[in-house]
């Protein structure tokens, strides 16, 4: 089950592909099958940018078992285009230096492993904007 589930989500997890409603223009990430605004079912695929602004975040100290080695870690809500927010882990950062409003980049990272023998699940995580990028 696990390989099929992650495989279906490659466009959004690997390439940040969002779905823009062809009728009313509302954009969804992750993509939806039916627009919740006008109930249209046709969408255009658009790529979101690899950067955004941290809206808010929380520190996870009691994680699900597959993330236990990573605790404590941050999960944030990041606005990548006006009105469109994504949720993901924030890594390579001092947790006490996180602040709403800061700029973050999205990097390609390993999200989880399906046990010792299963597939590797990749996707995006946020990292601080580096000195060399500012």
């Amino acid at each position: 089950m696990f390989p099929a589930k992650i495989w279906r989500e490659f466009p959004q997890r690997y390439r940040l592909e969002a779905a823009k409603c062809k009728k009313c223009g509302k954009t969804f990430f992750p993509p939806r099958l039916v627009c919740n605004s006008c109930f249209h079912r046709e969408f255009e695929s658009i790529k979101l940018p690899w950067e955004g602004t941290l809206v808010t975040y929380t520190i996870i100290r009691t994680p699900p078992s597959s993330f236990s080695d990573q605790a404590p870690y941050a999960v944030g809500i990041i606005e990548v285009v006006p009105g469109l927010k994504i949720t993901c882990q924030i890594v390579d950062v001092d947790l006490d230096k996180l602040a709403s409003g800061q700029k973050l980049f999205l990097e390609f990272r390993l999200i989880q492993k399906d046990g010792k023998q299963g597939v590797l699940c990749y996707g995006y995580k946020a990292v601080p904007v580096a000195d060399y990028n500012s």
Binding site: D92, F108, R109, L110, V127, Y132
Partner: protein, 348 residues
């Protein structure tokens, strides 16, 4: 002439200092710092591997190449630490950068030579007209056994090159390869850490192949060391590439910009290709560059490269290698490093 259309590198932010490793194993840090010219090395975060670093380096190469990823007809990744034993790294990277589905993918292996091998093959296919653009990536997250000499150098990083026939920023003027069967370093199937022939890794392996390859390609193009602006060699530590350069007759100003190992460590397949990226970051149009890799087992690939006017247009379009190396560093203690690298045995 065919050559490099775009390039990009990726260095993880974590570092560990030689002293931090030495104090755990009771070894003399100064012998590594002075003897092998190693100060610190990069360490991949627990969520980084050859696939993730390759994707980031490839995205940066695309920023510089400014081509449609759908026009990339081949994705080749050279590494000795592919995350899967069976399942290609190349398809994941091709999927992530949007090069699928009309693309030829292959993973290359040849100890530390795998990266230039991918470049060599992609360049050949571009020259033949079989493919329009080829993406060749050199990446590793190699491990040294705890307490082994290799633990002081085994680092992580990636460099990506997009090869093509148009909009070339650096022409590849010649290639050359020099290989023999030399058992200096190996890892048998199902073994976690590699084995090496200790002192046997120097003269008959690294130096014989590196020097022979450099001399062979310079003879092939009729050039002498003084004709080159830069020379980049495989860098398992800080000392070997310096000695190789000196033995060949290169001066410090020719090799020091491409030698990242004193503060990066040995990025294995990534080592000389990352050195090339640091040189391309600061090269001027018309600079002649010698690149010589080395992979145990053993062999070297040589490239003679000349930058074009376009190099100045693309340098600032993505993060430079030296900036990644020198800025935004996050230092680890040995305990956290051991946890990150899976060196701590946990209960099932």
């Amino acid at each position: 002439m065919a050559g490099i259309v775009g390039y990009g590198s990726y260095i993880p932010r974590y570092r560990i200092k030689v002293e931090e490793i030495a104090k755990v194993w009771g070894t003399d840090a100064e012998s590594y710092k002075k003897g092998l010219m190693l100060q610190e090395k990069s360490v991949p975060a627990p969520d980084q591997d050859v696939i993730t670093m390759s994707v980031e380096a490839a995205r940066r190469a695309l920023l510089r190449a400014q081509i449609n990823p759908q026009h990339i007809d081949a994705v080749y990744i050279g590494s000795e630490s592919h995350p899967y034993a069976v399942k290609p790294s190349g398809t994941a990277v091709a999927e992530a950068i949007g090069a699928i589905p009309e693309v030829h993918c292959a993973d290359f292996e040849f100890a530390c030579k795998a990266g230039t091998e991918a470049m060599f093959v992609a360049y050949g296919l571009v020259c033949s007209g079989k493919i329009r653009y080829g993406l060749a990536i050199a990446a590793d997250t190699s491990q040294g056994a705890p307490g082994d000499a290799l633990e002081f150098s085994a680092a992580a990083g990636a460099a990506a090159y997009i090869l093509g026939n148009d909009n070339v920023a650096a022409e590849i003027e010649e290639t050359y390869s020099f290989c023999t069967d030399t058992p200096d370093f190996w890892r048998r199937e199902y073994q976690h850490y590699p084995e090496h022939g200790s002192r046997f890794t120097g003269e008959p392996a690294y130096f014989h192949h590196t020097l022979s390859c450099a001399q062979g390609i310079m003879k092939k193009v009729g050039k002498k060391p003084q004709d080159f602006k830069y020379a980049i060699f495989h860098q398992p530590n800080g000392k070997f590439p310096m000695l190789a350069a000196q033995k060949l007759g290169f001066k410090r100003e020719q090799w020091e910009d491409g030698r990242l190992s004193p503060t990066l460590g040995n990025t294995y397949s990534g080592a000389s290709p990352m050195g090339l990226s640091a040189v391309l970051d600061k090269a001027e149009p018309g600079d002649l560059i010698l690149l010589v890799s080395f992979g145990s087992g053993a062999g070297s690939d040589g490239f003679v490269i000349r930058t074009t006017d376009r190099i100045k247009e693309i340098q600032a379009k993505a993060p430079r290698t030296k900036q990644q190396l020198d800025l935004s560093k996050r230092y680890l203690d040995y305990g956290t490093y051991a946890k990150f690298r899976g060196k701590i045995l946990k209960a099932e």
